[in-house]
């Protein structure tokens, strides 16, 4: 039985893949577990109000209520612009309708574009065949492209673990992928901050919150087992980061999980 967090996560992942039906199903299951969950309700209301065109894979909107961090991250600014099917010059229309109409049509008739174009410099925005190369057929997306797109969207949704997962896949294939590396740093530092904030002051000395003989009944991996073995009431969180030998993110994640599961408690300095 998946947990609430897992269901939300599955829903987000399905949403970003354009599988709205699956996303809805996951989020509804999540609501069965936690009927009052505002985050899930927000996702569902967004899903319901989204038109098929809006929800299409080319223009996916982040569900409302997505975390505040959903603002485009640093690296996103450096991301290459999405190449449209034809390389038109950028237009203000690309940003969507203006709040106020710039031209008010006369009640009796419409705007005669051809007449205006003759009297003015206004010209349709079309590529100049002399300077613009012939439109290329869209190259089929590689796995890396798909993962990168997924990583960007997951990051925008605040699913930094999911984004990191995608980035790690990319870096396995292309270790020098510039955008992926930028996202890796951003994801890692965001996640580390998130987990560390759960630990409280890193000068605090964590202690076992369960009886030592109960440790055996937990479901841990050997790395968590190693970290847990170091928690003896004499070392603080910062020292644990130093002696774990693990990347800071992994250590922070394991410690935050142990804390959340009630295996350890933060303690005083």
């Amino acid at each position: 039985m998946p947990s609430l967090a897992e269901l939300i996560d599955h829903g987000i992942k399905a949403f970003t893949r354009g599988l709205h039906g699956d996303a809805e199903r996951y989020w509804r299951e999540a609501l069965e577990i936690d009927p009052g969950n505002a985050r899930v309700k927000g996702y569902l209301s967004q899903l319901e109000s989204a038109t098929p065109a809006e929800a299409g894979p080319a223009r996916r909107a982040a569900p409302p209520g997505a975390p505040a961090q959903a603002a485009p991250p640093g690296p996103a600014r450096k991301a290459p612009p999405v190449v449209p099917a034809q390389e038109f010059a950028p237009s203000p229309w690309d940003d969507g309708p203006a709040l106020q109409a710039t031209i008010v049509l006369e009640s009796e008739g419409g705007l005669d574009l051809s007449a205006i174009s003759e009297k003015s410099d206004l010209r349709p925005l079309v590529p100049d065949p002399a300077t613009t190369p012939a439109p290329r057929p869209a190259a089929p997306k590689t796995d890396v492209d798909v993962w990168m797109e997924g990583a960007r969207e997951l990051f925008a949704l605040g699913d930094f673990s999911g984004s990191l997962e995608m980035i790690e896949k990319i870096l396995k294939i292309d270790a020098g992928h510039v955008e992926a590396r930028a996202y890796l740093r951003q994801n890692e530092s965001t996640l580390v901050s998130m987990y560390e904030s759960k630990l409280g002051s890193l000068a605090n000395v964590p202690r076992l919150a369960i009886k030592p003989e109960e440790v055996m009944w937990l479901n841990l991996d050997h790395r968590a087992g190693f970290l847990l073995a170091q928690i003896d009431g004499s070392v603080n969180f910062e020292d644990l980061f130093a002696l774990s030998g693990l990347p800071r993110l992994d250590t922070a994640r394991i410690l935050a999980q142990l804390l959340a599961d009630g295996v350890i408690r933060g303690g005083a300095q």
């Binding site: 002051s201 000068a203 030592p212 440790v215 055996m216 937990l218 479901n219 841990l220 991996d221 050997h222 790395r223 968590a224 087992g225 190693f226 847990l228 073995a229 170091q230 004499s234 070392v235 910062e238 020292d239 980061f241 130093a242 002696l243 774990s244 030998g245 800071r248």
Partner: protein, 621 residues
Amino acid sequence: MSEVEPFIGIDLGTTNSVVATVMDGVPRVINGRAGQVLTPSMVAVAKNGKRLVGQIAKRQAITNAENTVFAAKRLIGRRWGSKEVEDARKVLPYQVAPGPEGHDVRVVIGGRTLAVPEVSAMVLSELRADAEAFFGRRVHKAVVTVPAYFNDGQRQATKDAGRIAGLDVIRIINEPTSAALAYGFGRQMEKKVVVFDLGGGTFDVSVLDIGKSVYDVVAVGGDTYLGGEDFDRRIMDWLVFSFAKENGGIDLRQDKMALQRLKDASERAKIELSAATSAGIHLPFLASAGDGKSALHMERQLGRDKLEELSKDLVDRCIQVAEKTLRDAGVRPSQVGEVLLVGGMTRMPRVQQAVRDFFGREPSRGVHPEEVVALGAAIQAHSLLYPQKDRDVLLLDVTPQNLGLLVVGGYFTTVIPRNTTVPTSQTHIFTTVQDDQTQARIVVLQGESEKATDNEMLGEFVLSGIRPARRGDVEIEVAFEISADGIVSVSARDLETGLRQSITVTATSGLTEEELRRILDERMDEVLELKQSGELERRRDKAQGIILEIEALVPAVQAALQKSRFGKDAVQKAEGVMARARAAIEAGDLHQLAAIEEQLDRTLQLFKGLAGGASAPPGEA
């Protein structure tokens, strides 16, 4: 005690170090800030760049082996290329390199190259910090112990380490002498004492001839690669093989995390077995079973008899070394008046039994074996700083090893024997060994071996212009002089012509005075930086705490402001102050934090007042 300057005695060990003092006439060990007696002599740079010293460095010694320096004592004051350094390089997982002049040894740790005294200084600094926490005052004066076989260079390097650590090392004394001092010998008795020192990494046997205020180390033997860690390794091997047998051949030695836990558990079990007959080893989630299976646990019982079986040859080796040392010193076990047990491993019942069987007498166990050397050093520091007539044994500064010259045939001849009180001077007459010899090479050596090559060369010079004559006809007087500061001057003079050449040798640790000054400056900068980072942490925590308090008061303040015509912008202003404080926390800017602290305090006080007013019963607001 508070009115006198605090002082300490330090046992700077290969594996562990201990610090002690004398309070109200009673020698006592100073526990570390974490409550421990022993501080592992280890220094590491963790993967996150943090410098770790002592217990915490030990706990990651396997998972971060290449950046963890241990057993620096095996390298201190040694010459690059010496047999001892070559032997150490074979087993050390961290990188060592020659010094800039190619003479001494450097260690590479966390991308930095450090002189060995710098590494030892980090351990000494930790002990000094423990002592300062104990006294609540700065501590400068210290007596530090070294093995009896340390030459002048090694002693000087240990002194340099003390200086880098901000200590004034008032005396370096021999470890066995220090142990004997702690037992109070020399005050009541005159006898031969054997110090049986089985530590974490080395085993030393010393025979001392103790008289009134005279502690003559007459023989030293040992094995520099035999100690408690070998016993731990035997337990680890037993655990590794039995685990592999039960779990389809999973080799825990390939898993650094598992190995680190095994090492810690083995040492704990070994210590436990000195008091109990059985010890449990419980290591849940020790290793990955692979393929997404649950992690594997280790559950074992280790009996004392099993440990004795696993380590029998190690105990036998200790006795063989002791036997050889006594034989070399011409002392029969029955002539030994007292046997002192030093080092944690001598707590092992099997070791005690072996000592009892060999010497035919009960060993002295009045003082904790791990603490005894540091206690002796503290006693000596007390005697040096606050002498009391007829009560103290004041050790005289003596030459640790024989000083002499290279003579024909590659032999070494002693001019000043070891244990000679300094300052001193001695002369010897030598003759030419060839007909018409016009030059004589004077090679000054220090050591205990008859073979010159086995001893440490301190310096050399050539006496030229000797009048041609038949061999043996020319007499050359060689004079050795050691000043109170340990500076050795050697001169050679043709007695007939008066022709004279000389050399001055100062014991060197390998560090030049210039280097030492640079290191001291760097240490000063580090201390300041540390102070600042501690200050930053304190101010950051305080600011965070105040921000949380203010945030919690916001709803109550807003409610209060709604009823008032004044201070409508109070919350907005508070938001501004908190935003600036958060920015300072984010930037780690100590100055900004200090500047914003007062505003935060004022805001909190204001909010407390407003919120208190809001929550007050009607009529009281």
